[in-house]
Symmetry: C2
């Protein structure tokens, strides 16, 4: 089972991506964890380490995939 982590910040772009993608991944292949930085600001460091520069983004097998553009990580950190 592979791990896919979906990082977001509660914005409308994020929620659209969450509804379409987080629920779309094959459950027989992926365990999907959804992380909202508004609830879990302590997860910001791990996301940045994985290469996340904006939200919403998936990290799958250590690679960051940014889905459209909701907010930069600078914005996310500024809004804590």
């Amino acid at each position: 089972m592979q791990k896919a982590t979906f990082y977001h910040a509660g914005c409308s772009v994020c929620l659209s991506a969450e509804h379409q993608f987080a629920a779309a991944l094959d459950p027989s292949k992926f365990t999907v964890e959804v992380v909202n930085f508004a609830d879990a600001p302590q997860r910001i460091a791990e996301a940045e380490k994985a290469g996340v520069v904006s939200v919403p983004a998936f990290v799958i097998n250590g690679a960051a995939f940014h889905i459209n553009f909701g907010a930069s990580m600078a914005d996310v950190k500024g809004s804590k």
Copy 2:
């Protein structure tokens, strides 16, 4: 069954996204079509109509989701 169309232009960013995402969608929910504009330039118009402004991108249920950034549609059209 929902339809997910993955548009790309053969670039390395595109191929990485294709390998991670096109194969990751739940096959019980989605029929995934992969369109390479290098092979099918006649599909550019439908992608732009759906809101695709760069590749790689998915169109799922009529909504465009851009994954990272490989090339703009202007670049795609310029390289035909």
